[in-house]
């Protein structure tokens, strides 16, 4: 039986991209001061000099540069979805700096990306990814992958 593709959190990224190039993280932009927020702020601008309450969805830059990175050698606690009966496979976490937005966004590395593949400053792109699968659903998320990555 085919699983339904369901975003692990709704409204944060393109849900049904036709191609990888169509996939974006989605933040919001204040219509008053143009401040950008990710995760999205939908009711109230957080710029202390602004009282804006109208925020609209905005696609974030697809590419940025590694700000820092690490991995998780031990299984994180719930609510991280992970089957305790299966051996733990470390995953990589990457913090990527987006130049236009002047912000850093965390994400897991695409499958196969390890700390050894990364260095601070390396160019990365956001790609659709899968956080986990259960009986009915494939829970989708975003991943960071080095630009020009050709493994895995």
């Amino acid at each position: 039986m085919a699983r339904t593709r369901t975003p692990v959190v709704s409204g944060w990224f393109t849900e049904h991209p036709a191609t990888e190039a169509d996939f974006h993280l989605i933040g919001t932009r204040c219509r008053t001061c143009a401040a950008v927020f990710f995760p999205r702020e939908d009711t109230c601008c957080r710029n202390p000099r602004c009282a804006g309450t109208e925020l609209t969805g905005v696609a974030l830059s697809r590419r940025g540069r590694v700000w820092s990175y690490t991995d998780g050698r031990y299984r994180p606690p719930a609510p991280y979805p992970s089957d305790p009966l299966l051996p733990w496979r470390p995953y990589t976490l990457v913090a990527v700096e987006l130049a236009a937005e002047r912000m850093v966004v965390l994400g897991q590395g695409a499958p196969g990306v390890t700390p050894a593949d990364l260095r601070v400053g390396r160019e990365m792109e956001v790609v659709p990814g899968v956080l986990y699968e259960d009986a009915e659903r494939t829970w989708t998320t975003w991943h960071w992958r080095p630009v020009g990555w050709d493994r895995g």
Binding site: V8, V9, C30, C33, A34, A35, V36, F37, F38, P39, R46, N47, P48, R49, W67, S68, Y69, T70, D71, G72, R73, Y74, P76, P77, A78, P79, Y80, P81, S82, Y91, L93, A95, A100, E101, R102, M103, V104, V105, L106, G107, Q108, P115, R119, V120, G121, L131, T141
Partner: protein, 396 residues
């Protein structure tokens, strides 16, 4: 100094994994602080508790829980929560009561009974909670964030895992001389390097454990201290509890992204710099006046970050300062002479109070084998989740 309050008493329950409830540790610490102050509980008109999120409902009304356990008798009560800064916020609340003239003496208590392993968020399905989301979406544990900061320092400043290990070696030496510390054996750089990687580049011995423990202070007005016969008490001269300033370009626990600095330039000071800066300004001192500092070394690399945020050295120079021995025993500015979180493990609401207990004993010259000679002025600093930080300046 009209803004000063006196530290009449300091007390702690040793840190460890004792398997009892947090109330026990808090009550033991409170009784020790009262004994140290030479006051009976019946003489205390106000108690402020630092809450724990791990003790069920009693943990979230810690002031009342401690007051009840000590023998409820109508004292003014307050319970405070500010993540890792809870203890310092409890001190801030007590100080405000004293400076406002609401009461002359206040008991401050914090205690925790910690779980095994990673701190985890509260249960349930809560997609509006960034702390829940970072675990759910990314599995980003606290050590993962510490590791991101450590890797960033390596890339930016050339810090090495050996530098980080040296922090642990230094703090383990200090902790071995502290009867309240949980870990009291020296640790070698080789042992740090041989401990398992938790979050690249940080290893198990780079990251502070979670502990049971309790700490308490008896604070009073200077008038009360004088009448009570405390001629030259340690005095708290500043307590900083500032929020970050938007936009913060540093990735802070538990956030998945930083603020954007595209519409408004970043604040001139980083959040951690502003925590110390506000305390310095209130106390009318600078980093050059310090005899010692107790900082929140959740990881070895974070201790180095604090050197820079406290202004003990310029950005990027913390590892060099460490290597000179300036922050070790007998150095120019000993940091974490208590042994730090490296030797204690974190007992969240007690930890910032324990930092002030250490300042108190150091400034009184009662720190035995870990005494900083001639200590006159000390600072504590910490940072907790959701933009909570604190710094306390004490003088004698």
């Amino acid at each position: 100094m009209t803004g000063d309050v006196a530290v009449l008493g300091a007390g702690m329950h040793p840190w460890g994994k004792w398997g009892r409830g947090f109330t026990d540790y808090g009550v033991a610490a409170a009784r020790a602080a009262l004994t140290d102050a030479g006051l009976h509980w019946s003489a205390i008109p106000s108690v402020v508790g630092a809450n724990t999120v791990r003790g069920g409902y009693p943990g979230q009304v810690a002031g009342a829980t401690f007051a009840r356990a000590l023998g409820a008798r109508g004292a003014r009560v307050l319970s405070v929560y500010a993540a890792c800064a809870s203890g310092a916020h409890a001190i801030a609340a007590a100080r405000a009561q004293i400076l406002a003239g609401l009461c002359e003496v206040v008991l401050v208590v914090g205690a925790d009974a910690a779980p095994k392993g990673f701190f985890a968020p509260a249960g349930g399905e809560r997609p509006e909670d960034p702390d829940w989301l970072r675990f759910r979406l990314l599995g980003a544990t606290n050590p993962a964030y510490f590791a991101l900061y450590a890797r960033r320092r390596m890339a930016l400043f050339g810090d090495t895992p050996e530098d980080f290990a040296l922090v642990k070696v230094k703090n383990a030496i200090a902790g071995a001389a502290n009867p309240y510390a949980r870990y009291r054996t020296p640790v070698s750089a080789a042992e740090v390097a041989a401990s398992p990687l938790v979050a690249d580049p940080l290893r198990l011995l780079d990251i502070c454990a979670t502990s049971d423990g309790g700490a308490a202070l008896v604070l009073s007005s200077l008038d009360f201290a004088r009448r009570h016969g405390a001629g030259r008490p340690v005095r708290i001269r500043a307590v900083s509890t500032v929020t970050p300033e938007y936009p913060q370009p540093a990735l802070d626990l538990p956030d998945i992204a930083t603020d954007s600095a595209a519409a408004l330039p970043p604040a001139p000071r980083s959040f951690r710099e502003s925590i110390a800066g506000a305390a310095y300004e209130e106390a009318g001192i600078g980093p050059e006046d310090l005899s010692l500092a107790e900082v929140y070394d959740l990881s070895t690399a974070l201790e180095l970050q604090w050197y820079e945020d406290l202004g003990l050295c310029a950005p990027g120079e913390a590892a060099a300062l460490l290597r000179t021995g300036a922050t070790g025993p007998g150095g120019r500015i000993p940091v974490n002479p208590s042994g730090g979180l490296a030797s204690f493990g974190e007992a969240v609401p007690a930890q910032a109070i324990a930092q002030v207990c250490e300042l108190t004993w150091q400034l009184r010259g009662q720190a035995d084998r870990r005494q900083v000679p001639g200590a006159r002025t000390g600072i504590t600093a910490n940072q907790g989740l959701f933009g909570h930080g604190s710094a306390v300046v004490a003088v004698r």
